[in-house]
Symmetry: C2
Subunit: 443 residues, 2 copies
Amino acid sequence: MDQGKDHVAVIGGGLAGSLFALRLAQQGHRVDVYERRPDPRARRGAEGRSINLGLSKRGIAALSEVGLRDEVLSLAVPMEGRVIHTLDGTARFQPYGKNRQEVLHSIDRNELNDLLLDRAEAHPSVQLHFEHRCVGVDAATRSIQIADATGTVTPITADWIVGADGAFSKIREEMQRGQRANFSKEFLEWGYKELNLPARPDGTSQLKLNALHVWPRGHCLIVSHANRNGSHTLTLFLPFEGPDSFATLPDRTAISSFFTRYFPDLVPQLPELLAQWERHPVGSLVTTRTAPWHLNDWIVLIGDSCHAVYPFYGQGMNSAFEDCSALSAALTTTHPTSRLDAFRSYERSRRPHTDTLAELSKENFVELRQRVQSPLFVLRKRLDVWLNRLAPRTWLPLYTMIAHTTMPYADALARARRQDRWLLSGVAVAMVVLAGAVGWAVS
Amino acid sequence: MDQGKDHVAVIGGGLAGSLFALRLAQQGHRVDVYERRPDPRARRGAEGRSINLGLSKRGIAALSEVGLRDEVLSLAVPMEGRVIHTLDGTARFQPYGKNRQEVLHSIDRNELNDLLLDRAEAHPSVQLHFEHRCVGVDAATRSIQIADATGTVTPITADWIVGADGAFSKIREEMQRGQRANFSKEFLEWGYKELNLPARPDGTSQLKLNALHVWPRGHCLIVSHANRNGSHTLTLFLPFEGPDSFATLPDRTAISSFFTRYFPDLVPQLPELLAQWERHPVGSLVTTRTAPWHLNDWIVLIGDSCHAVYPFYGQGMNSAFEDCSALSAALTTTHPTSRLDAFRSYERSRRPHTDTLAELSKENFVELRQRVQSPLFVLRKRLDVWLNRLAPRTWLPLYTMIAHTTMPYADALARARRQDRWLLSGVAVAMVVLAGAVGWAVS
């Protein structure tokens, strides 16, 4: 262990926690990772259920910093755009960007997590502790209470602590106890259920592989991510209550007729639908916000533990990875001599952007389930791509800035709004010119 | 114990909890009240620090229902309006309503709480348990865990449970664990400190007794409530950080010069200022919102436990008491045969209004600390009172509706906005007529 380097405890061995642990170790720190659940790498061969995520520019940038970019991308399926499946069975492709570089990468969450844990564990300065959960924080003695699988509680004192234990973060709750800390959690009134769309017997995909597939139905929605084996992971989003909801699909007959009515093209492709429906749980979706993100120079939060968002912009993991880059830069570059200043500047520079992402992720829910099928929306997307090709430095569609750049989220939104104003002015000028020309022509 | 009546556990023996316990007992239920703190009635004779609240129409209506209206009002000092103290020492009176009926009642929070506890305890169906706190909720067995002063935990099973344990409600937290429950807490960046302005040696008040006094300074604010003994309880509101904040008043010199600068008229009236400053803690202010307010037909929340608001509209206690009326009406009148329906209708009919109150309470902070001194504001208030006198059924100022009626908060706000539109139209018409008349006169 290097003299002068820190001993850091990371709470949570999920995507953000394992990536940041590796990054800290590479910078010479000694790291202990405490994860509540058992080692997920032992579960392989079980159901094999996959949850897929869309890795984009921001996430890739953070993976590059730890040297894992190429290895991770080799596990992913590139998605060049969205295929919109309408009720009448037609499928329409909408590209994600103007070229082959502007794609998303569909990756299995578990596979990525396992890889990050493997690489972290392989580093001599990282120690992983599974079935160890944080149960308390004692600011006075700068120690946290860690309970092991047997329930034995041990106080842990590290130089500083990273909270990466997800949307329902225990360390956030404990560190903010008695503090003037703002917090909100808001659940979507829709839940989700994952279904596997298998590959054909010959291993080829039933759907175009290199795309995200969307079945937008307004009052319900299916989104699908591709897997390397040719299968697709479908996620059905549906209200919990009301007509056509999880509450009104109590039996096999109701489920079958629901799919026949709204997703007829999927019915022949999902022979295991009913069995899967019964086996897979209904998940819920939450947006959380909080402030502050740190407790003096001792505890700091990253990822979902400080800003969980709905999945509809596909930026949850990407923004969590971007937190790792931002916190690392604050600690090593901006404020190498003061951890407190680094934590403060990390939060100050980052929170407005994750707040914006929360709003964008809410708005994109309406886009995904409804607007993607409107002709006006398609026209607008085409115009965006065309303008972007015409003036690649001047005109950047919002989606491009969010998914294919590392421009801070709120800056991207502000620029998109500015561009919208230009576009409107341009359309207005064009109409005046056109009216003049028509007037001249008929006179 | 009546056959067919319920055994109800009330968590929290504060204002709402003790009032509701009494109400339930009067309706024939058997009630156990569990209060975390020791019996507050034992503390009498200690420092005698008072926290005063403004009791208004809504609170009085709920007290009438338990037969305590007159007894409580006999403990209160009526306040007929606000006295605004400007920096140059002038004091200007603004009436609260159009007559002697439209007043607020300044009451000592502790005295009121003690009275409610006394009356609840005197009822044979109420049992009070002090130093008993809720530590857990087990929905499966419909039992809650109650820890006594020694730490011994006992499971309690009542037919149903009322959560009345304040803004940081433990029972809310426990009942919502694992549920899709929304929650937010937001702290004001200002804190407060209470100071006592004593009566003169002959027992008379140094300030007009029958009024709320306000020293609005924009970046700081003092509000004062009258006590029956001629003293006043001042509350200084000040930012926690920044210039002129609690953080920048570290010593007696700084505090003295702060008061001399911004509250010179109070300096001779507060001989104990510095000693009190050091003795009294700085409090913080929080707004909370949550949904749902109940867990099936078993637990239901009232008062701050489901909607804490800033104190700037003086409606925190009044809205908590109004919850007691609303929940009681839902249980006995609207849905006497289904407790679940009663809880649902109570929340559905009440939550939009307490959400509105939260916003009004935030807005009134700006009004109290700044706008009350503006000539335009004073003019508008006078116009409101004058229109209200002219057409007492048609024109009701917002403040009148909130403080002197039991009209639901959101309905009051909607009506005030409608009135504002009438007023604007009226002013516009008047200006056109005036312009016409001037034009006619000069032509």
